[in-house]
């Protein structure tokens, strides 16, 4: 059995799965049940200014019958009294000393407020702090949350205030509602943040009700932009994570990855792209804390299969393989192959290639089953047919290099090689 425990700036947890700062981590009763279920740690729901929530708060995007492909919320930071939160944090730390207890913070926008809040949280026994510079709704209007994270200068200044007093590790949580997460990430690291976490939720409108004409979620006939998360945002999160993992400044600190992680596979992907721990919210909100069982079990089995003893053996392993387009090898070429024994004749490869790609599939009419085959000379190796095929391994992409040597775009131009003629 592999060792899946994590050590994040000295904050140890039996596994790399933390529950992200959100409703599942807003009170003792939840957090104790999460720890009993096996979660490695929690990021306690953001403490800070007094707020008042509205109803309703969530909405979702369904796709082809799958519910909650994407999820959004307009809930604010913790609306419970600070003293109760601190007391409960202390109790959770005492009852589960082996689990990570990070506390998310969003103080009023002045040095004193931050100093005061940090001291109280450290006194409660928290192991680390996560600065919420990302919340995209409700708090920004008051100059907090994403309003801080979207301006590297302000973010850097707040981190400096925090670092003046913080005695425990500080993680800065980045908002994705920017053209690049790197500037704020750099500013935070340069101001002393020990670590980064990303992404927070993405500003969104999940849909409009076609009967009432009010967008979701409906609050008495009105709506507001909510923070988008869930499986739909994972690809965006992975891209942003990679930019942090590759930047010379931000890559110096450990990263806690967040954004649509629902399975151990998602987690492994985040870790391969540089995350030391991962945070989960939507999946736990949807299915409950019990999902931790397969999150751990699946990761463990995969690590055994791959020969990884600890998570450090693979964290960041895929980062170097993500390069800029112009570094890609133009001589690398693949063409599709259809396994006729596996083909169920649905025609999806044909119509997607014909209407959506490069017209590289032959159709031979039959009744009722047509036969489909690849025109190898037309196939550009785009993967579309393989992606839409409903049968595993029916369509495979076979390597047929155009030349033996590695030729990237710069080299290609230098050599004056020919462009496509069709």
């Amino acid at each position: 059995m592999a060792d899946i425990s994590a050590n994040f700036l000295g904050i140890r947890s039996p596994n790399p799965y933390w529950l992200a700062s959100a409703p599942p981590t807003d009170k003792k009763i939840n957090v104790l049940r999460a720890f009993e279920a096996g979660w490695g740690g929690v990021v306690w729901k953001t403490l800070g200014s007094q707020v008042k929530n509205v109803s309703s708060r969530y909405s979702s995007v369904d796709y082809n019958g799958s519910r909650v492909m994407g999820f959004n919320n307009i809930e604010l930071i913790s609306d419970r009294p600070l003293d109760i939160n601190l007391k409960e944090i202390a109790e959770c730390v005492r009852l589960f000393p082996d689990r990570a207890m990070i506390v998310s913070l969003m103080a009023d926008n002045n040095r004193e407020s931050w100093h005061e809040l940090i001291k109280k949280v450290e006194d409660a026994g928290a192991h680390g702090l996560e600065l919420n510079f990302g919340c995209p709704h409700g708090m920004t209007e008051r100059g907090m949350g994403a309003a801080v994270g979207q301006d590297p200068e302000i973010a850097g200044r707040v981190v400096e205030w925090v670092m003046e007093v913080a005695k425990i590790p500080v993680i800065t949580k980045l908002t994705p509602n920017v053209h690049s997460v790197v500037p704020t990430g750099r500013a935070s690291v340069l101001a002393g943040s020990h670590a980064l976490s990303l992404i927070n939720t993405i500003q969104s409108v999940t849909g409009v009700n076609l009967d009432t004409f009010v967008p979701n979620p409906n609050v008495g006939g009105q709506s507001t932009f909510g923070g988008y998360c869930g499986p739909a945002v994972k690809p965006i999160a992975l891209k942003m994570l990679t930019t942090i993992s590759q930047d010379p400044v931000t890559s110096r600190v450990p990263i806690s990855g967040i954004g649509g992680i629902s399975t151990w596979k998602d987690a492994a992907e985040f870790m391969l792209l540089g995350a030391t721990t991962v945070q989960v919210c939507t999946a736990a909100m949807r299915y409950g804390f019990r999902i931790i069982e397969d999150l751990c079990d699946g990761l463990n089995n995969w690590m055994d299969e791959k020969g990884f003893r600890t998570i450090d053996d693979f964290i960041g392993r895929s980062v170097p393989t993500l390069t800029s387009w112009e570094e890609l090898d133009i001589n690398y070429h693949i063409v599709a192959n259809i396994n006729q024994d596996k083909c169920i004749h649905c025609g999806l490869c044909y119509i997607s290639c014909e209407d959506g790609s490069h017209q590289a599939i032959n159709l031979s009419y039959g009744n009722p089953y047509n036969t489909y085959s690849i025109k190898e000379e037309e196939c550009v190796g785009c993967n579309l047919c393989k992606l839409v095929c409903p049968v595993d391994n029916c369509i495979t992409m076979v390597e047929q290099r155009k030349g033996e040597d590695y030729v990237n775009w710069k080299e290609f131009q230098k050599r004056g090689m020919p462009l496509n003629d069709h």
Partner: protein, 453 residues
């Protein structure tokens, strides 16, 4: 042993004749299956539907809550798509061709989804179709069955005034009078006919049989064209001794009785033999059982390999507790006091003929079934005499037509069972569409395209 009616309680009758293919209870339930559809291109299901319903399209429309669009997609290809969703042998048509079969997975329940999409349209009489402006032409259709109604609907949409002559008191043809009640109720059939005629321009005159109340000559004189879609109707006889005994009935009239009367009034025996293994034989056997017969035995002179019904149909009979005797040919029916008491069969072996087809050969081995009722379901025969009298070209009573439904008589077209000898409802609907297309061409050409047979 006796043939008698009123064998069951009201609750039992209700239970026995309730819908064998219940509809989706909720939208969610329909969505689960609709979302499984792969949305195949040039889909095998569509190609396997005689009316060519664009199945992936209507299923996609269900998933987008465009039920009105789904109903239109179905009904514009098959105006009896509601009834076909209940009675089609889909296991050998659309669902049999579903690509999931090739993955060893359950096929999409196309019929059930089709029912989901059409039932509301029919129940609430959605006006999905509009008539074009009248073109000043009149067409007579003989027979308000699937072929006739389908033809009438297409013609009316195109602005033709259609009069349908129907010998029975209700429309729908064999859909109304010849199919097991647990598949489709007579009430639904009436609703479906009403839905079709709600388009306007279709006048059905009931109680008008060709050769009795009306003649072909009259129709030719009074209308611009005539479409014959009077189906088949005469039960094939066995030509064995004892066929005239009391208790020997043909399946067509047995089912007709069930369709036309309250279940408790329909008499059935204790021990029933049903001769044949076609769809009608199954419908007769299962309904005999459901009316309270103690023992029902299907007798067939070939094997499962050759049976005309589908395996699904056979399984309905088996699940109802019917027995099947294969390779048995009825040779005599015996009786006492004019009432049937025994069915004598000779066992059969199959031997290949010169063409390699397995033909039954009667052996000396005998089997005697004690019965008090024999239902003959040996097929239906075309109205040969009628066709002959009108000097229509025919083959054993089946009207001969060109690929365009054109008979040998100018301005007279034909389709459905009276041409093909008896196929599925869905085949008849397509025949009606083909007939309408040919008639329109004929009318637009000013009666030129007529006689080409």
């Amino acid at each position: 042993m006796a043939v008698r009616n009123n064998r069951l309680t009201a609750e039992e009758y209700k239970q026995h004749f309730s819908d064998i293919h219940p509809p989706f209870e909720t939208r969610d339930a329909a969505m689960v299956d609709a979302n499984r559809c792969l949305f195949c291109y040039d889909a095998p299901c569509t190609k396997s539907c005689p009316t060519g319903i664009n199945v992936p399209k209507f299923i996609k429309q269900i998933t987008t809550d465009n039920l009105r669009g789904a109903a239109y997609t179905i009904l514009s290809s098959n105006i009896m798509g509601g009834g076909c969703a209940k009675v089609c042998p889909v296991e050998k048509l659309c669902e049999g061709a579903c690509v999931y079969n090739l993955m060893e997975e359950e096929a999409i329940p196309i019929a059930r989804l089709q029912r989901y999409a059409t039932e509301k349209a029919i129940e609430e009489k959605w006006q999905l179709f509009e008539r074009k402006a009248a073109i000043g032409k009149k067409v007579a259709v003989v027979g308000a069955g699937p072929a006739g109604l389908s033809c009438a609907h297409v013609l009316s949409r195109e602005g033709v005034d259609v009069t349908v002559f129907e010998k029975e008191a209700k429309g729908g043809g064999l859909m109304t009078y010849g199919i097991a009640a647990y598949k489709v109720t007579p009430e639904f059939c009436c609703d479906e006919v009403d839905f079709i005629t709600s388009l306007g321009g279709i006048n059905i005159q009931y109680g008008k049989a060709l050769g009795k109340e009306i003649t072909l000559e009259e129709l030719q004189q009074q209308y611009d064209a005539v479409y014959l879609a009077f189906g088949v109707g005469l039960a094939r006889q066995l030509y064995i001794p004892g066929e005239q005994l009391t208790g020997v009935v043909d399946a067509i009239s047995f089912i007709y009785d069930i369709r036309n009367n309250d279940y408790p009034t329909v008499p059935v025996g204790d021990q029933v033999a049903v001769i044949g293994m076609g769809m009608t034989a199954i419908d007769a056997a299962t309904q005999a059982k459901r009316l309270g017969a103690k023992e029902v035995t299907l007798v067939y002179r070939r094997t499962q390999q050759e049976m005309p019904c589908t395996e699904t149909e056979m399984n309905i009979a088996l699940l109802d507790g019917c027995k099947i005797v294969w390779l048995a040919a009825p040779t005599e029916i015996l009786g006492e006091n004019g009432q049937v008491t025994q069915l004598v069969c000779h066992m059969v072996k199959l031997e290949e003929d010169a063409n390699g087809r397995r033909q039954p050969v009667i052996t000396d081995e005998k089997m005697v079934l004690p019965v008090d009722m024999v239902i003959k379901a040996a097929g239906q025969m075309p109205y040969e005499q009628l066709v002959h009298d009108y000097q229509l070209h025919h083959s054993n009573g089946k009207i001969s037509v060109t690929a365009n439904s054109i008979s040998n008589i100018t301005g007279v077209f034909a389709g459905g069972d009276c041409v093909n000898g008896g196929k599925e409802v869905v085949d008849a609907v397509q025949a009606g569409k083909d007939g309408a297309k040919a008639i329109l061409q004929y009318l637009l050409d000013g009666g030129q395209a007529g006689n080409s047979l």
